[in-house]
Amino acid sequence: MNNIVKPVPCKILEVKKESKLEYTFKVESDIKPAHGQFLQLSIPKIGEAPISVSAYGDGWIDFTIRSVGKVTDEIFTKGPGDVLFLRGAYGKGWPVEKFEGKHVVVITGGTGLAPVRSMLNKFYDEPDYTKSVTLITGFKNEEGIVFKNELEKWKDRFTTFYTLDAEKKEGWNTGFVTEFVSKVDWASFGDNYEVVIVGPPPMMKFTGIECGKCGVPDEKIWVSYERRMSCAVGKCGHCRIDEVYVCLEGPVFNYTQAKYLVD
C-alpha cells in the first residue's frame, strides 16, 4: 500500500544566507513541482513543516525558509551533504497559463516573495511569455530583504517598486506596499492583466482592497494562503476553511473564492 505521508531522504546541495533569519536550501530531488506549490519538509524526531518551492530545476528544488521554531531552527543547523526528508509537491499553484500574453502585477510582503520567485524567474527568462511584469515588493526592514541578486536582476525587465515599511534605503521606497498599488499603470493594461498578491494575512487583505479601489475586479486577483498544516493531504483538518482545504484547493486561490473564506 502506498504511504502518502512517508517522506524520502534528499541531500542538501547548497545553503544560501538570504538574510539573518532566512536561508535558501537547494535540495537534490526529482520531484517536479509547479510554481506556487509546497512540500512537507521533515527532520526525523523533530517534525514536519510545509514550505513553498522558491525555485526548481533539473534534479533540484530551492526552499527559502524562515527560522521560527522547532523544525525550521533544526533545518538551519544543516549544511551541504546533510539530509532533509521531503514529500510532495502539494496543493494548487499559480495558474501560469492564465498569465500568458497578459500584463502581470505581482505584489508581495516579506517572505511572500518566496512562493512567486520561481514564476518571476520564468517570466524573466521568457520575456515574451507575458506582456509586462510589474513587481511591488515590501519588506519590514533592510535586514528582511531576501533574493537580493534577483531583485537587482528583475529591475532590467520588470517595472519594480521595492519598499521598506519604515526604514530609508538608497534606491528603495519607504512605506507599505499598499501605497504603491495606485502607481501601477492600470490604464494601459485595458482588460488584459492579472494580479498576484502574497504576504501576511493583513497585507493581503489591505492590498486586495487597494486593488479594488483601482478598479481591479476580484476575478483578476490571485492570492496564496498560509494556514496551519499537519498533513498536506486533506486528512488532519487544520487547514480547512468552510468546505475548502487550503492544502488541496490552495494555497493559491482566486480572490472571488478567497474573499468568502472566513476562518
Binding site: P44, K45, V68, C236, V262
Partner: protein, 344 residues
C-alpha cells in the same frame, strides 16, 4: 439466516474466531467515568460476550478502533523511516447503526478527500467486519432518525441482545458455518423510528447568509459557556482531525517515532501559525467552526450527508451541558433572522 444462540454458544464462537479476528466491542469500565462513582463505556478487545455492554450507548465512538486517539506512524533512526505495523488479524467490531453510518464519514476524509488515501486508515478499514447491535429505543440525547443514520444494512452480522442469549442475522455467508449447530429462527433487526429529539437542519441558502451567520451574535454565548476542552470532538462519531508530532524516547539515543494524535478544533492552538498568527481566538469562533462543519461545510463539499449521525455523544460528554441540538436550533433561528432582514 437467523439464529438464536446462548451466551455460552456465543463464547464458543468467539473462541473459534479469536485466531483470525480481534473482537472489539463497547465495554464498561467501572469507576473510570468523569466522577468517581461513574463508569465509562468505550471500545476495547473482548473475549467473552458478557464483557460487551449492550444495554447502554458507549460514551466513546467505534471510530477509535480504526483511528486510535494516538498511533505510531513511523519509527526512526538517524536516516531511516520505518512504518509502524498494524495488527495482522481481522477486526470484528460491534457497533450501533449510528457508528456504522459514521464510518462512511471517516472513509470520505481518510480514503477519498483530495484523491489521497491514508494508508494507516485503509489498512485497518480493509480488515473490518461489522456486527450491528440492534438499537430500537435510543437515549435522551440521540437524534439519529433526524440525521437518517438510524438504519444500516452494511453489516456482516446483526444481533439483538436478550437475557443470556443473542438473536442473530448472519448476512455474510463466511460466518454461517459458525452457527450450524444453532437453532434457526426468523429474524431481521429492527431500527428506531422516532427519537425524543427531532432536529431540523436549517438550509443556508447562499454565501452572503453564511458570512452573516458567522458573525451573528448567537455564537457569543459560547465564550461564556464553552471551556474549550475538546471533549465533544473526542467523543464525536465522525470527527477526524489530528496532529502529527515527533517524539524522542531518550535524549541520548537516536531513536524516536512520529505519532498521530487526535486533535480538536475546539482547543486553543488548533490554528496557531508561525509569527503568532491565530485564526480562531475565541471559544465562540471555534464553536461556530465546529457546528458549521457538522451542519453545512461537510455537506457543501461532499454533497451527500451532514457530518453528524445524531449519536448525541457530544452533548452527553460536555461538562458545561452544551447541547448540540439546542445549538443547531439557535442557528436555525439566526438564519431565519438573517433571511428576514435581507428580504426587507
Amino acid at each position: 439466516m437467523g439464529y438464536k444462540v446462548s451466551f455460552e454458544e456465543v463464547n464458543k464462537i468467539f473462541d473459534q474466531l479469536q485466531g483470525e479476528y480481534e473482537i472489539w466491542a463497547p465495554k464498561r469500565f467501572a469507576g473510570k467515568g468523569r466522577y468517581s462513582d461513574t463508569d465509562i463505556i468505550k471500545y476495547d478487545k473482548v473475549s467473552k460476550v458478557e464483557e460487551i455492554e449492550f444495554k447502554e450507548k458507549s460514551d466513546y465512538p467505534a471510530k477509535e478502533v480504526l483511528s486510535p486517539i494516538t498511533q505510531s506512524l513511523f519509527y526512526f533512526t538517524e536516516d531511516e523511516f520505518r512504518e509502524s505495523k498494524a495488527t495482522s488479524k481481522k477486526l470484528l467490531i460491534f457497533m450501533r447503526p449510528c457508528d456504522i453510518n459514521a464510518q462512511h464519514h471517516q472513509e470520505k476524509i481518510y480514503l477519498e478527500n483530495g484523491g489521497y488515501a491514508d494508508m494507516y486508515y485503509q489498512r485497518m478499514n480493509e480488515k473490518v467486519k461489522i456486527v450491528m447491535i440492534e438499537c430500537t429505543e435510543g437515549w435522551d440525547t440521540c437524534f439519529c432518525v433526524s440525521m437518517g443514520s438510524n438504519k444500516a444494512d452494511d453489516y456482516a452480522i446483526a444481533v439483538r441482545a436478550g437475557e443470556g442469549e443473542l438473536t442473530v442475522d448472519v448476512k455474510d455467508e463466511a460466518f454461517a458455518p459458525l452457527f450450524k449447530e444453532a437453532a434457526g429462527v426468523d429474524f431481521k433487526p429492527e431500527f428506531i423510528e422516532k427519537n425524543e429529539i427531532e432536529l431540523t437542519i436549517p438550509e443556508i441558502p447562499n454565501k452572503e447568509v453564511l458570512t452573516k451567520l458567522k458573525s451573528h451574535p448567537m455564537w457569543n454565548e459560547y465564550n461564556k459557556r464553552c471551556i474549550s476542552c475538546g471533549s465533544c470532538t473526542v467523543a464525536c462519531s465522525t470527527c477526524t482531525c489530528f496532529n502529527t508530532t515527533d517524539v524522542i524516547y531518550n535524549e541520548n539515543t537516536n531513536v524516536g517515532e512520529r505519532k498521530r494524535t487526535t486533535a480538536s478544533c475546539q482547543i486553543e492552538g488548533f490554528t496557531d501559525m508561525a509569527g503568532g498568527h491565530v485564526f480562531r481566538r475565541t471559544a465562540a469562533e471555534r464553536m461556530r467552526y465546529k457546528v458549521l462543519h457538522k451542519f453545512h461545510d461537510y455537506k457543501a463539499r461532499f454533497k451527500d450527508f451532514h457530518m453528524c449521525v445524531g449519536c448525541g455523544r457530544c452533548t452527553s460528554r460536555c461538562p458545561e451541558f452544551i447541547s448540540i441540538t439546542a445549538t443547531v436550533n439557535k442557528m436555525a433561528k439566526a438564519i431565519d433572522e438573517i433571511i428576514a432582514e435581507e428580504s426587507k
